[in-house]
Symmetry: C2
Subunit: 325 residues, 2 copies
């Protein structure tokens, strides 16, 4: 385990050295223990300079989605107050689901550096190469009925688009129901799963995958990443995954609170503004049929309303949508 006391004293000291003696005082452990804990921090990726006369100084922090990083100055009340981080998992949603069945606090977040079997919607795969994206799953326990779950996806989509815009300045847009596009290319996907009774949600696992520094060639199914769309060249200038993850958690909590306190209608307007498809011609693939129509609106339940060529409107709550010319 990382000693957060020591880490935080080092952080607060900024460019200044802090002596071993002072570290002992702040953390209440012996000099020998300090040394061990500094070593442990180094193993986790923290770059700590040790000078015999001056003491210790933090000169580099890892861009890893670990609790000590993500929770540092995280401005949320419950989302991400508990964080569990893995190096590699099959799927953060699968592991979060399993853990939630045995009891996890509302707002717990699971991160992984790599997913071997990252999940997309409808049993599809989500490419999750090591260290380049954010692969996270949030445990949510709202007082809702199962038919309200599309509202969670709605909120997550608005929050993801907004967080990406705020953090990168990129023109992120929403493609119903669960994708975030930049310049028409997918950079983020949302997978909402739940365990529920007929009229009560036990828990929701909200999975969010963001391609942050991922190279286009590592996304064989197409898609892009924030870095690709920012046209940053070279490997040195990566986007901070920790910063992006924090922004995502903060924005998500904000919109989730809005949903719980004011209902989905307060978020629908923003969804419409951020939509990549409203007004466009789309091709809808349902379980039993495929047809073209105009994406007309989104309703407060999170369903897509399309307008057929005949003028008839239809509510779509499941299915795949692609934009056509």
């Amino acid at each position: 385990m990382i000693d957060n006391n020591i880490l935080n004293v080092l952080r607060e000291s900024g460019d200044l050295y802090i002596s071993g003696e002072e570290l002992c005082k702040f953390s209440g452990v012996s000099r020998a223990a300090i040394w061990k804990r500094i070593e442990k921090l180094r193993e986790e990726g923290y770059d700590i300079e040790a000078s015999p006369h001056l003491g210790y100084r933090l000169i580099g922090i890892p861009d890893l989605l670990i609790p000590s990083e993500v929770k540092w100055k995280l401005r949320t009340r419950y989302l991400g107050r508990e964080i569990i981080s893995y190096r590699r998992v099959d799927s953060t949603n699968a592991i979060a689901y399993e853990l939630a069945e045995h009891g996890l606090a509302d707002g717990t977040v699971i991160f992984a550096e790599e997913q071997v079997k990252g999940k997309g919607r409808q049993g599809r795969a989500w490419q999750s190469p090591s260290g380049s994206g954010i692969y996270m799953s949030c445990v949510l326990k709202p007082h809702m009925t199962p038919n309200e779950i599309p509202k969670i996806t709605l909120v997550a989509a608005v929050a993801a688009a907004r967080a990406i815009r705020d953090f990168t300045g990129l023109d992120a847009k929403i493609k119903w129901p669960n994708d975030i596009l930049i310049n028409g290319k997918k950079v983020c996907g949302i997978l909402t799963e739940m365990k529920a009774e007929q009229d009560r949600i036990d828990f929701i696992i909200l999975g969010i995958g963001i391609n942050v520094n991922t190279k286009a060639k590592d996304l064989p199914g197409g898609g892009s990443s924030l870095k690709e769309e920012l046209h940053i060249s070279g490997g040195a200038h990566n986007i901070s995954r920790v910063g992006m993850a924090r922004k995502m958690l903060e924005t998500m909590e904000e919109y989730y609170n809005l949903l719980k306190n004011k209902g989905s209608s307060s978020i629908i307007d923003e969804w419409r503004e951020l939509s990549a498809m409203l007004g466009s011609r789309v091709r809808i693939s349902l379980h039993e049929r495929t047809f073209d129509a105009q994406a007309h609106n989104i309703d407060p339940d999170g369903a897509l309303v399309v307008r057929h060529d005949s003028g008839i409107f239809e509510k779509i709550s499941s299915g795949d949508v692609v934009m056509v010319r």
Copy 2:
């Protein structure tokens, strides 16, 4: 494992003896193996008479919810084609859910003779004393969206009321959303759980508990059983749990097919006919408020429509309902 070949030959022979030699011929195993298998059947509760000169004769079958019994002459196509039976479990729904996550065929049914932590709706308990009730959970994988799950409860309630009526002649009625009452007392409960994505159900676990021969004193939370309501006195005349379970599976499959092929509207009329509460004054307890109203109707989505004293109608999709004078 029970040798179903031998068991079925014995069954088909009825009151007639069948020689060891004939049993060898039918089952293709040796005399010594026959003996072992007969012993195994006896251990499972089958009463088999063995006469040195005449051979074997089946004189008693156990009323146990085991595959060899429930599947015997079961007239379903998929529901109960796979059966897993336990002596004792925490909860058949919990174990079915866990097994389904690792893959069970659509229509698989889990039975238990006893539940230690039988589950009711909203985290409540379901009394499940050993050997007296039917505690079963069906794995269903319909092509439905999560908001359609109340339809499954609707169908199960109609099927349960109908099956109990057909098998016992008792006047079983439905109390929305998930109870079956006889003479105003609960004899059967339904617990519908699911794992789902936003727009796709992975699987449903449909739990059905029926108090068959349960004594009222073993139901501390109130309620009754089929036997109590039939006023059968003495322990000798029990209602066949196997027969009731078979009837339940057959009726459930019939109505479930109807739902899949024709939609819920075809079942709503029957639900209304079987309702214990439509037209009655009811007290509704929701998450945030309690009020009295008149139970007016059920809508095709499975929600209860109540009429407030002000004349306004409201759709209730979650909550508890009790009938008041």
